[in-house]
Point group: C2
Chain length 362, copies 2
C-alpha cells in the first residue's frame, strides 16, 4: 500500500506553489500529524520543494523516530524548537518567501518568526492543509468508523448501568471507563452529560446533580482510534417518557433522519442545515434549535466543512460530518440526536448504528 | 466574604495603566475565568478603567448569567463575538490605546482586531493576568488541595484493582472513572499510563500494551475541582521490585524530598531545579533527568512559575508548584515522583500526602 503521506505532501506542495510561496511552516498539530504521522504535542514542520523538516523536543525523541521514520528530516532540540528552525533555515536552499498558518500560530510566535526567521519573507496562509483534510481516504473513513464503533459499544454498556440516583459525574465516569475498555485512545472533547433541566444547556459539563426518574439524559461524547474522532449524541429518559418528551424527541429524530437522507456531497453547508431546520420549523419549534446542524470530523472533532445557516461552502465528496439537530427549552430540558455521516460519491452513508428510538433506561 | 474578582480587576487595571494602556482585551479562557468567573469555551472580555465587558455566544447565555452575574456587562451575540466587540467599542469612552494578549491570540484574530477594531490603537501585552495568577489566595489553595485529595482517592482505589494482564488503556479507564466518582469535573491533561519500557517516555499516552509482572507502572494524572487542577505522578511495580527498580526509585524519591524541603518562595526557579538535579547528579544519574523540576499549577495545569535550568524568575510567595524529578532509561523504563507544593511565607507545604514508598501492587 502506498504511503498516504507522499500524496499529501505532493498536494500540499502544489497548494504552496499556487499561493506563490517557496515553503510553508506548519504549527497546527493535527496538520502536522496529517502530513508526517507525528502525534506528539510539540513540533514544527517545514515543507519546501525538496525537504520535509520536523523539529521536536527531547521528550519525543523516541516517538518521533517510530512515527515519522525516514519521511522527514528530524531535528530534536533540547532548548527551543524555534531556535532550531531558525538555524535550519541557513541550509535550506531556494526559499525566499514562506507561509505560516495564520489560524494556528499565536501573535507571540509570529513576532518570533519575523525576527528570528528574517532570512526569509513570511506571509500568512489559511486552510492549505485543512482543505486537503476535508476529503477523507478509505483508511481515514475506516478509522472514524472504528471510533464510532468504540463509542457505540461504550454507550451501550453505560446505558445498561445508569440508574436514578447516580450523579452526572458518575455517569460520565462509567462512560469514560467503558470508552477506554473499548479501546479509545482518548477523549476528543469534554464529555457532556446533562440531566433534567440541565439538558437545555447545549454544552453542559457533568455536574454533581443526581439523575432522577423522569429526567431527560443527554450524552454527547466521542472516541479516538488511530488519531481519528467520533462524535455522537443520544438523549434518553430515565424511567418512562412523558408525551412531551416523546413529542420533542420525535421531531429531533425526524430532523436528523431527513437531513441524513437528504444531505449530499456538492451541496452547500447551509442547504444541508436547511433540511433539518425546515423540518423543525414546520413543527413550530424553529426558535428552539439555536445551533448549526453539524461539522466535519477527522483528526479534530471540529473541522471543515461546516453545516450551518451561514456556511456557504460546498460539502466535498469524501467528507465526514456530524448531523446533530436539537431542541432546547430553558427550565425543561433538551433533546439532541447526533450521528456521523460519510458524504460518498454515491450518497450519504451513516456510520452510527445506535438506535434512534427514545430509550427508557434504569 | 469580599468578591475576589473585585481585587483582581483592580490589580489588572493598575497593570494596564502601568503599561500605558487604556484597556485590555482578554482572549485567554483561564484569564477570563480568573477575572470574571466565566468557565465556558467562547468569550472575549474587555477591561477599561470603568467597564468590564464580557461577550459570549448563545450556547452560554444561561451559564454566563449564573457565573458572572452583575460583575460584568454581558453581551450575547448569535453571529460573532468579534463583531459584537467591534460594535461595543463605540460606546466605550476614554479608550485610545488597548492591549491584546500576545500569547493567547491567533495571528488571524490579531488581523481581525486591527481591521475591525481600528477605532483604537492596539498593542501586544504579555503576562498581565498571568502575573496576578501566580500568587494564589486561600480559596485558590483550598481548591487545589481539594483537587489533590480527589486525585489521591482515585489513585488509591485504582492501585487496589490494577493487576498484571490489564492493558494501559484499562488502567487509565479505572483511574478516570475513579476520578469522576471522587468528584473531578474533568481531566486537566491526557492521563499518562506507561508500563515497562514505555515508562521511559515522559509523555506516553496509554496504549494497548498489557501490564506484566515485574513492570514499572508510571501514572501521571490530575483532577479538577472548582476549575483548579492537581497534577500527581506515582511509579509503582507490578509484583516484587528488583534491586535496580528500588535503586532508581530511591534516588528519584530522595530528589523529590530534597527539593520539596529545600524550595522557598523568593528563590529563583533554576535554584529550586538545581536542588533535585544536584541530588541526582551526585548519584551518577544526571543524564537521565532530561526535563525541568516543575511548574506552577492553578486554573491551568501548566502556568507560571517555572522550575527549570533556564528559569531565572523568582518563585513568588503563594505560588503552587509541582516537584517532579524523574530518571528515564531507554529500553528499561522510568521513574517519576511528583507532588504539589504551596510556597508559603513560612516555608513550603506539600499538599500531596500519597505514600512515597515504592509500592508493589497486583
Amino acid at each position: 500500500m502506498p504511503d498516504p503521506r507522499a500524496g499529501r505532501v505532493a498536494a500540499l506542495r502544489e497548494a504552496v506553489q499556487h499561493a506563490h510561496l517557496d515553503a510553508v511552516l506548519l504549527t497546527s498539530l493535527p496538520n502536522i500529524r496529517y502530513i508526517t504521522g507525528f502525534s506528539g504535542s510539540s513540533a514544527l514542520v517545514l515543507i519546501t520543494a525538496r525537504d520535509v523538516l520536523l523539529i521536536s523536543d527531547f521528550r519525543y525523541a523516541t516517538q518521533v523516530r517510530s512515527e515519522v521514520g525516514d519521511f522527514a528530516r528530524i531535528i530534536i532540540d533540547a532548548q527551543s524548537i524555534w531556535g532550531a528552525l531558525f538555524r535550519a533555515q541557513a541550509d535550506l536552499a531556494g526559499v525566499e518567501i514562506a507561509g505560516f498558518e495564520s489560524a494556528h500560530v499565536l501573535h507571540r510566535d509570529v513576532e518570533r518568526i519575523l525576527s528570528g526567521g528574517s532570512r526569509w519573507q513570511w506571509r500568512a496562509t489559511t486552510d492549505l492543509v485543512e482543505a486537503l483534510r476535508e476529503q477523507k481516504d478509505a483508511d481515514e473513513v475506516a478509522a472514524i468508523a472504528a471510533a464510532v464503533e468504540v463509542a457505540e459499544r461504550a454507550l451501550g454498556r453505560t446505558l445498561d448501568e445508569v440508574h436514578a440516583g447516580m450523579t452526572e459525574l458518575q455517569v460520565a465516569g462509567l462512560l469514560e471507563r467503558a470508552l477506554r475498555d473499548a479501546g479509545s485512545r482518548g477523549f476528543p472533547f469534554e464529555t457532556i452529560v446533562a440531566s433534567g433541566p440541565r439538558a437545555a444547556l447545549p454544552h453542559a459539563r457533568p455536574d454533581d446533580r443526581e439523575v432522577r426518574r423522569g429526567d431527560l439524559l443527554l450524552i454527547d461524547f466521542g472516541a479516538i482510534v488511530d488519531g481519528y474522532c467520533s462524535d455522537i449524541t443520544r438523549t434518553v429518559v430515565v424511567g418512562p417518557a412523558t408525551d412531551e418528551q416523546r413529542g420533542v424527541h420525535a421531531i429531533v429524530r425526524g430532523a436528523n433522519e431527513a437531513a441524513t437522507s437528504g444531505v449530499r456531497a456538492g451541496m452547500r453547508g447551509q442547504d444541508a442545515d436547511a433540511i433539518a431546520r425546515r423540518y423543525i420549523e414546520e413543527r413550530g419549534q424553529g426558535d428552539a434549535f439555536g445551533h448549526g446542524l453539524g461539522h466535519g470530523i477527522g483528526l479534530e472533532v471540529h473541522e471543515a466543512p461546516r453545516l450551518a445557516r451561514t456556511a456557504d461552502g460546498v460539502l466535498p465528496t469524501g467528507s465526514v460530518v456530524t448531523i446533530e439537530p436539537g431542541i432546547y427549552r430553558e427550565g425543561w430540558g433538551g433533546v439532541r440526536v447526533e450521528d456521523d455521516v460519510v458524504l460518498g460519491a454515491g450518497g450519504p452513508r451513516r456510520l452510527t448504528t445506535f438506535s434512534h428510538e427514545l430509550l427508557e433506561i434504569g
